[in-house]
Symmetry: C2
Subunit: 555 residues, 2 copies
Amino acid sequence: MFDENRFLTITPLGGLGEIGMNCMEVSSQDGSILIDCGLMFPENYHLGIDVVIPRFDHIISKKDQLKAIILTHGHEDHIGALPWLVKYVNVPIYGSKFTLALVEHKLRERGLLDKVTLIPVKPGKTLKVAGLKIHFFPVCHSIIDGLALGIDSPVGKIIHTGDFKIDKDPLIENWGTDLKQFKRFAGKEGVRLLMSDSTNIEQEGWSINERKIVETFRSIFKEAKGRIIVTLFSSHIQRIQEVLDCAKEFGRKVGVSGRSLGVNIEIAKNLGYLNVSEGDLFIDLNEMPVLPDDKVVFIVTGSQGEPMSALSRIVRGGHKQLSVHQGDTVLLSSRMIPGNVEAVTRMVDNLYRLGAEVCYDKMHSIHASGHAYKEELKAMLLATRPKTFIPVHGEYRHLVKHSRLAVECGVTPERAIILEDGQPITLLPVGIRFEEPVAVDSILVDGKGVGDVGTSVLRDRQILGDEGMLIAVLVIDEVTWNILYGPAVFSRGFVFEEHFDYLLEDAKCLILDVFENDPHASVDKLQDKIRSSLRRFFKKILERDPIIVPVIATV
Amino acid sequence: MFDENRFLTITPLGGLGEIGMNCMEVSSQDGSILIDCGLMFPENYHLGIDVVIPRFDHIISKKDQLKAIILTHGHEDHIGALPWLVKYVNVPIYGSKFTLALVEHKLRERGLLDKVTLIPVKPGKTLKVAGLKIHFFPVCHSIIDGLALGIDSPVGKIIHTGDFKIDKDPLIENWGTDLKQFKRFAGKEGVRLLMSDSTNIEQEGWSINERKIVETFRSIFKEAKGRIIVTLFSSHIQRIQEVLDCAKEFGRKVGVSGRSLGVNIEIAKNLGYLNVSEGDLFIDLNEMPVLPDDKVVFIVTGSQGEPMSALSRIVRGGHKQLSVHQGDTVLLSSRMIPGNVEAVTRMVDNLYRLGAEVCYDKMHSIHASGHAYKEELKAMLLATRPKTFIPVHGEYRHLVKHSRLAVECGVTPERAIILEDGQPITLLPVGIRFEEPVAVDSILVDGKGVGDVGTSVLRDRQILGDEGMLIAVLVIDEVTWNILYGPAVFSRGFVFEEHFDYLLEDAKCLILDVFENDPHASVDKLQDKIRSSLRRFFKKILERDPIIVPVIATV
């Protein structure tokens, strides 16, 4: 039974050192699986970037070994990078029903559905793949149908929690995180390795229970005299159910606006995850019946103040069917993601200017995080009693603090291991080995361009965005070196030309000066001199440094 | 005594509807004063903008009436726009000693000091100007020497709180907010008008007392084995004093890095506001003695993750004298301003990677806001019992919520008045009159350019920053319409040209197509066609839409 060749290598490709882009390879001697394949939303300094995905070279270079992709749940930071991977690897994708329904929709939209086989899994069943036997444990999260993985591996029992919180009193039966199942899997000995969600390690205590949210909703619905508008993360089916339940209880019809919400509600309804009463709870915005204000609630997209979302359009008067007026109540039932706080608070202020009352996270209990707080993470550690602990899903400080918690819970300090993306570790029958790092990266996706925008392009965008640009064009006779055209000067994002055209006239004079001072210089030299002369000028006059593109054409 | 011509007009020029840029004109029949003259730091969408200032046209157009500028305290959002105003108006500037010292430094640096007369004021003394008698009340805030204004006006008593919190147990004697002085001024009748700081109306209860911060500092200093690095707002002299006191108590020398900190500490020392022990508490970083790690503390700039600040340079290894290593403790003793959260948390993660322990607001009580929480605002309302209430210093939702609090505290609803910038209101001997709005604006300052960057330039910057740009140059013979040069294509911030030059080659072909399909079109028409053809192409191929500048030169 004891085989020296047995091993399990864990290779984090994303999500260890950042929030998002979760992706991890787990390999045994019989092959490998990929746990999650997520994207990350760009940070503010990622100018113009749509999404960020992990670098897949490592996976693609040994794709014959890859046997399966296993998805823990359907959030974008766990499934969003699939479209970029499935072009290169053709293995079954396993996940819960709802998770796969979201994947199916995503891949169909991009014409990639024929590339993949989607195989549903569920708690109570196991999956044998790549020398591993995988158990699925239901976990509570801010999306339904989330799964944690219990893996019987050649070197012992492994748990990967995925994203989770522990809801001791779940609203939807059987979909709380059942710690007993983890405990049973861990057995008397405890697991060999626990990998656990670090997102909320900095939050003390226990996360808010969803029942508290329902309580707040009910009191708001009870008081509201006008229309109610709710915005939330569009995949948060449980929260949507709570709004529907309140609507029913307080006799309001429900309208929905925003594409992603429509899609997700449809999917959830079809799979039976949304309990919609008989009778017409929903109303069609295009054929909206005339209803008193206190008989409707609208669920709309736009919780992050996205400019094209339904709520943003409502606020600026650009929504075809909906508007906000005095006496309405708007509920932002979601977290403000740090990069979006400015946009969201601007929206909130404008809602107040329109006369609405706005309820948001900071002021009312109308949102609960889907990630375990510190005491919940402790409960997971105590239930599974790991020999080795690797914190996952978090920025570096989260990983540090989560590993400290593991030590407090009995993991020996040298077995509480902080890995970052690209650092593989191998569990041997006895002992652990760190492997050579593999190449990882954050690949920037801009439109259809994947990886064509890198650091140098971002740096140019930074300057262009902050300072604007100026083009200077001059056509000269290649024989006589006489000026045939120009200098012409064009600017964008620099100064308001209509009022400050004298600056551009000065720039033209400077270009002529350069040319006259050194009439026999080469084109390259002239271009360099024009650039430095104009930069000096604008720095002195305006303390600005736009990108300057001198173009000298010889004909 | 009763004079029908008496009046007092309040004209907010900034700070009512935004946080920052505080500036208000108060006029009687005998002239006007300006209360504060602040700037606002740009939001994320203000690309490349350095600061934002109020529009001063209203003040300048009637500058003969302006008798004084009164400053409540020395923060940038109250004094920062002075350099742009003092060029146009020449009236005395009144403020506390420390406030004026900061103004003096600022104006000297810009060569504007000879334009102004600075006159110190202090609690207990009054100032008669513009038909008003102004009393000064000391208030507690996150900068020392803050003042609220009590104004005996022709139409009754007015209070403008400036920025304040109520510290019932101030660390520095006599510089808590003494509500009794406000109460005494208000008298039996209460004041005619209260204008009060709305910044923290959304915070329930009382703000944290500075003694709590000292307590945390002491426990951190007690435990720390390595070096301690503290970053904080550089004008927060009281907090700096607390660090100095801890340094003394725990036998650490103090090094300072960062220009603004050095300046402010010097000013405070010279005015006697910093209690520095005899002996050498401070060490000079340029001649740093060799000291054990547990014998030093460094106060450095960079609490907002500013890239050129001392702390950012330390983190990326670019600081000449200082570095961070295993076992050091870094204290971010300040609030993370929402727009800076990404930058600050990136810095925190990198500090952890270097092995430091980092204490910040979210996790430890090492920062206290300088603005009154809801219960403190209530205490101010109850102490002054205003007939009319105008919330100041806040975004729109803050003003709404503060006015509701005033109503709860006994102000009649129609006398709790929400004004925004540019909406003047006149208090008459009996009654109130709304005046015609005056022109206000947020003037964007970019380098030395004031107001030359407006909406259209910002829009270009947005596109340039998100999508980059492409220039297409073509020189044609004005007689034969033959192409003499080009098409040449240059891009910036668009794609990484080295790897994606084939896209630019395709673009050149498209330009030739346009030219050949319509060889006799005018230059303008050709340019338009080239632009739309290239936009279509890049949208289709890349889903991107860079700024395209076609330049056709005829020679």
